[in-house]
Symmetry: C2
Subunit: 206 residues, 2 copies
Amino acid sequence: MSDVTEEISSKSTRELILDEALHCFADRGYEGTSLNDIAAGVGIRRPSLLHHFPSKEALYTDVFEMLLSEWLEGLEVAMASPASGWDKAELVIRAGFDLFARTPDYVRIMRREALDSGVHVGVDLSGFLRPLFDSACAYFTSEMDAGHFRRHNSQHLIITGYGAILTYFSDAPFIDELLNDQALTPENVRDHCDHVVAFFRAALVA
Amino acid sequence: MSDVTEEISSKSTRELILDEALHCFADRGYEGTSLNDIAAGVGIRRPSLLHHFPSKEALYTDVFEMLLSEWLEGLEVAMASPASGWDKAELVIRAGFDLFARTPDYVRIMRREALDSGVHVGVDLSGFLRPLFDSACAYFTSEMDAGHFRRHNSQHLIITGYGAILTYFSDAPFIDELLNDQALTPENVRDHCDHVVAFFRAALVA
DNA sequence: AACGGGCTACCTACTGGTAGGTAGGGCAGA
DNA sequence: TCTGCCCTACCTACCAGTAGGTAGCCCGTT
């Protein structure tokens, strides 16, 4: 019970910090973000922030774990679907787009982490994502064996899909300039999602 | 004449600095790299480095302009090829892979720049790349109109390709972990290139 | 009275950048 | 051939500013 009240009373500021930290880290990266920036965004001083998190790295790790758990949850639900064949692949692609469109800041943090080879985060990133990767590989391979999909190397296929989907969100500011338009409006996200789905379908389904 | 000797004597250190800066910026980003890091890598002190470049930002801009000119050169040659239809698309994809495999550090800097919306660099990035983007769009659109390719939205198609190709190099450390293998060995790069070519061919060529 | 959550004031380490000095090569003129 | 000068490339020492983090006080709630 005391747990709960403690949670409620402290959660507000703590969550405000997590939200602001998420946004700052996504926007300017780990090194480019100072605790002063985050604290100022919340409306408190840096030492007050450090009252809630023991260090910058601990704060970052907490943000990153939020990210991972949300992704894992979102994708596992889609991958556990009883659908099969192309329907399931499309379902997972669309789930990924929904997930990433909902949390573009997460995508940019993940991309930065991939670039930095995970030096800032104290969690076992590959340990987290390998199971998803492996089960996705197994799915595509079995569908190819069954003749439902054209034959491709499953690992490379998934890496290609990962890059194609994530890039649209991570590089959104850059794509804005290329398109002379806002990449992340709901319509444009849907358009791109439809395109990726159609593209992968054309490549996979004979 | 005095120009030449001046160039020869100073070029060596200047180029060493540019090389080291390229590597550091790619590895740890603009904010994560200090001038001390770069100077130490070259084997000189920071003030000596600032003798060759007026500021950190100027050094970064020089590195980035090296990148842009090399990319522009490499891709324009491929895009100017007289080939047509799928042959030309494959040629450009393979040229891109060659280019990026030769200079993976450039890819990572470009990706960081895309994430940071180009705040560090004093050059007009979209102005540089828009012509390539637009002419690639025009090419695919005309080939689709001629019935050589399946119909897709050209802009989204190129963004998908851009993401699929670049990610393999920018996220190489991350992909290493996923594959339990070195992503950037010549064999693996060739394999992935072959995969992307086959994948795009399957999606585009009816 | 105890305490949670904020504050000011401070610390050390390090940042990008500057000031000023030095070693040594190239070169014009005696 | 020697001498004096300039220039490049590097150095040490320092600057102001900012980073992350700590110590300790204040104050409203319980």
